[in-house]
Structure formats: C-alpha cells, structure tokens
C-alpha cells in the first residue's frame, strides 16, 4: 500500500507539473530568451534577426494610436526575439483561384426579360465557351423562350379599349465573344475568400419571333431576325470546375409586328410583307440570366510557382 501511495504521489506530481507550466504560459512575458522554443537563443545584439520574416506586431490593435506604449511594446518583443505562434506571424497571399485558359465552359442558364411591361419571357438555354486565354473566349449560346402576358396587357383592353400589338419570342442562338475586364476577391464575413470576375460579351446571331394576332384565332407568322447583343455580368468561382454567374444582356434587332391594316382574307404572305414594310420596329430586349458554369477539364495546373 505504501508503494501504491508513493507511486500515486509521483504520478500526481509529474502530471501536474506540465499542467501548471502550461497554465502559467500566458502569464510568462516573452522575456525568457530560450522562450520554450527549441531553436537556440539568439545573440543579444542580433535579436531582431531572429524575428519572423514579416513583423506585423507594429500594427498595434485596430484603430490604436501608435503611441509611446506601442513603440515600447514593439521594442521589447524585437529585442527579446520572443517566439510567437500566431496567425499574425504568417503571411498568406492566395493565388488566383481559378484558371480558364484552354478550358471549355458549358453553362446551362435560365433568364427573364426585364423591360417590357406587357409581355414577359422566361428563357432556358446554355452557353458553350472556349477560353483562348484566361480572359478571352469564343463561344455559342442558344435559348428557348416561354411567354407570359402581364396584368398590364390585360388592363389595356379593359381601361382603354385597345388591343396591344405584341410579338412573342420563340428561340435564339448566337456566336459570342467574351472578355474578362476585371478580377476580384472579397472576404465573406472576413472568414472566407471568394474569387469573382466581371464578364463582358458581344454576340451576333438569330432570333425567331412570332406575332400574337390581335384577333383571337387569326393566323400568325414568324420572323427570323438578325440580332446583335451585348452583355455584362459577374461570375463567382465555387470550385475548380464550377462557377455561378449573373448576367445582363441586351438583344437588339429589327422586328416586324402585325400590320394594323390587316384585313379579313389577306394571305399570310401578304400580311408579312405589309408588316415588314409598315410595322417594323427596332427592339431591345434586356434580359437577366442566372447560370451554372461547368468546366472541362474539371481541374487545372498553375503554371507559375507560388
């Protein structure tokens, strides 16, 4: 029993020693040259050389004036060469999070028209872009539209006894050229870094529209219009192979609407000709898109050292 008691006492003493030491650690000023670090103590005169590569301690607390106290604090730390194990001693400069050069982007999207109070279109489609460099791309886009008449369209008849002349959109496709004019990163609650870029797009393509006859049951015709487009958007990099984008595009084209002089018995070909001659109008469709970009190959290799 004596041996047991003795053994327990030794165990208790040996175990409590490091605990006490650890508990005392924060109270110990960094004046101890050895400092508990395994590295040899620096020579007294060359103490600053033992400091970390980049000493951030002189920044002081946020908003703190760099007064005498701060200077003295700095001096103490530098002279002693106190080891510090903190994130303040480590410099991190993250690299560009995402490289696009020679990668193919497949981006399914959905969109909505913004600037017509009478008719709204929802769009479903996709972009296919190949990046020649990290900021230049060529590609193609295509989309299919679904129409929805607005409440204002319904009220035009009830309030003014008029029937609006409208066209609906059927589909569109285009060749596009993309450019990335800006690249940035932001801190989310200062906990996570999110990388993003600005995207700019020019395109040329074809859009098919179709007249909505003012008289219910009348035949309709379609137009195939050459369209030009310009777009601006932001893209967030989520993983090495996926991005999220919000884009605004303006589609511009000359479109033919149902001729106001349409008469009963008129052939569709005649109506189309009359409409093109008398009822053509330059149209701007501003649309907003949300897309998910999937990249092939799904990974990339940095070409420069960190």
């Amino acid at each position: 029993m004596k041996r047991l008691a003795l053994g327990l006492t030794v165990i208790l003493a040996s175990l409590s020693f490091p605990i006490l030491s650890l508990a005392q650690e924060p109270e110990q000023p960094a004046s101890d040259a050895a400092g508990g670090d395994k590295s040899p103590p620096p020579p007294t005169e060359s103490a600053p050389a033992a400091a970390p590569d980049l000493d951030l301690s002189d920044l002081g607390e946020p908003g703190e004036a760099q007064g005498e106290g701060a200077a003295s604090k700095k001096s103490t730390g530098a002279e002693t060469g106190a080891p510090r194990k903190s994130w303040e001693d480590i410099v991190v400069v993250p690299r560009k999070a995402f490289l696009k050069k020679y990668r193919l982007e497949l981006a399914p999207f959905t969109g909505i028209t913004l600037n017509d109070p009478l008719i709204r279109h929802y769009s479903f489609g996709g972009d296919l872009n190949f990046y020649i460099t990290d900021v230049l791309s060529i590609g193609a886009e295509g989309q299919y539209f679904l129409k929805e008449l607005s409440e204002r369209e319904t009220l035009v008849g009830a309030q003014y006894y008029l029937v609006p002349t409208l066209n609906k959109l059927n589909y569109q496709y285009a060749l596009t050229f993309g450019y990335v004019p800006g690249y940035g990163k932001f801190g989310l609650f200062n906990k996570w870094i999110v990388h993003w870029d600005l995207t700019f797009q020019l395109g040329l393509g074809l859009i098919e529209t179709q007249i909505i006859p003012r008289a219910y049951g009348d035949a309709s015709f379609t137009n195939k219009d050459i369209e030009g487009q310009i777009g601006l958007g932001v893209r967030l990099f989520v993983t090495d192979w996926m991005t999220l984008s919000l884009t605004f595009r303006d589609y511009m084209y000359e479109d033919a609407f149902e001729w106001e002089g349409r008469y009963s018995g008129e052939t569709l070909a005649d109506l189309k000709t009359q409409s093109q001659d008398h009822q053509s109008q330059f149209v701007q469709n501003i649309m907003m898109f949300f897309s998910i970009g999937l990249y092939i190959p799904p990974s990339f290799t940095y070409r420069t050292p960190r």
């Binding site: 175990l15 309030q159 940035g184 932001f186």
Partner: protein
Amino acid sequence: MMKQTIAMRKAVAVASRIVALSTVGVLALPTIARADQERKSPLTNAPVVRRRLELRDKRVELGVGVGATVGQDFYNALLIMPKLAFHFNDWLSLAAVGGYNATPTSWPSSFNNDVYNALVLQNSSSAADTRSPNANDARATMNHITYLAVGQVEFIPLSGKIALLNSIFSYFDFYILGGAGVINLAAPAQPQSCQRAGEPSQPICQAHTGSELTFNAGVGAHAFLTHWAALNIELRDLIYKNNASGRSVLGNLYPADDLPVTTSADLEWTNNYLVSLNIQFFFPTTPKISR
C-alpha cells in the same frame, strides 16, 4: 487460510493497479487535450484578410447622385438622390435616402406613347369605339413619382478588392438593404370627363395622387475611388400601393350607365425598380486598419 490471504492480496493488487491506471488516465486527459490544442494550426481563427482597411467602420457617409426608374408603366423618373448613412461597424449601417423627380412628365415610357398614339388614332377614326377615353384625358390620369424619402438598414457581408484591366485597383463591397419610407405621387390633372354626374364619389377614372407608405428592399455596392470617396450603386424595389393608370383595375361597372368605377379599391401593391448611382464621401477621411 493461506490460500485466502494470497487471494486477498492478489485482489488488492489488482484493485490498486486499476486505481492507479484510472488516476493516470484522468490526470493525463487534460494534458492530451492540451497537446491536441498545441497541434492546431496557428492559422486557426485567423481572419482571411489582415491589415484590411475598414473603410466603413464608425464612419459617416454623405453624398448625392442620380436615380432612374426601370420598367415603369407610364412615366420613367430621373431622380436627384441625396444619401446619408452611419456605419456602426464594417458590416452594418443605417441610411436615409431621398429622391426628387427632375422629370415629372417629360420622360414618358414607350408604352405611354403607344397608348397615347393609338388613342389619338382611335379618337379620330370614324369607326371609333366611343368608350375609348380621349387621348389627353387618358394621359392626364397616369401618375408619376414626385419625391421619396426612405430609411434603410444595410448589411454588408462582402467586401474586397478588384483589378480592372489589370491596372486599376479598387476596394469594393456588396450589401443588401431593407427599410421603409414615403413616396409621393402626382398626375397632370383630374379630367372633367372622369367625373360621373351627380356621383362625385364614384368617378369613372381618378388619378391616384398623394403620399403612400413604401417598403424598400434591394442590393447595393460601393467602389472606393480613394479611402474617403466611393461610387455607390444601388438597385432597389419600392413596393407601394398604386393605380398608375388611374382607371378601373377591378372592372367594376356603375349600374346606371355601365361605365367603370375607379375607387381606392383599385389600388394594388406594385413593384417599382429604381437604380441609382451616387458619389459618396466618408468621414473621418482616414479609415482604420484591422490586425
């Protein structure tokens, strides 16, 4: 007897070992835990950006800019928009925004023009539908924004840096905003043709004017040009009750003449989008720097 003594000693020895081992285990636990803590990366709990310019913390923001409505039915508005804000910290602020419409009726929408031109044609046609309103009367009851004053709380979770064309660098932030306020609406006139003889409370049409409570929700961004000046873009949805045409929405008819009746019941909640661009100045002019 001897066997019993030996057995008891063995039992005591076993019990002693168990007690000793348990004691060691209990005492060693904090040490092991401490060792685990020591193995943690020094980057644990580090902010992702250090020496960050806290461009908003405890600063007042004051500036002015222009705003434009998007997708209004009848009259677009170009507004002069002052803004005053106080940032409680780097991610939360309270702001007051005003707006005065510099183009009350001088910026009609293309839909307004289409309706007007169609009604002019309709009015002049020999086969005119007599129920169609006069073109000028129709336009007279279309309302527009006069001014607005809203308060908003801004929550700024995102802030960072951007490089434009690899040569221009700017600090920026994104935020969401929400609040409420007052919007004032006006119309050119209350046409005589809207009045119903003998029933002034049951007009055929009636421009909706006066002040309305409006809710205010949107997103915004600052792009800092210097440490004390920033471009501020905001896109907001002003949600208020309106009848922009001043004509019956519900389609209620007055029994005596079968013509529509327009009352306050025809008001409905509407979404009105407004985009604005301000130049904002920050005080004090020197921002803090984080650790």
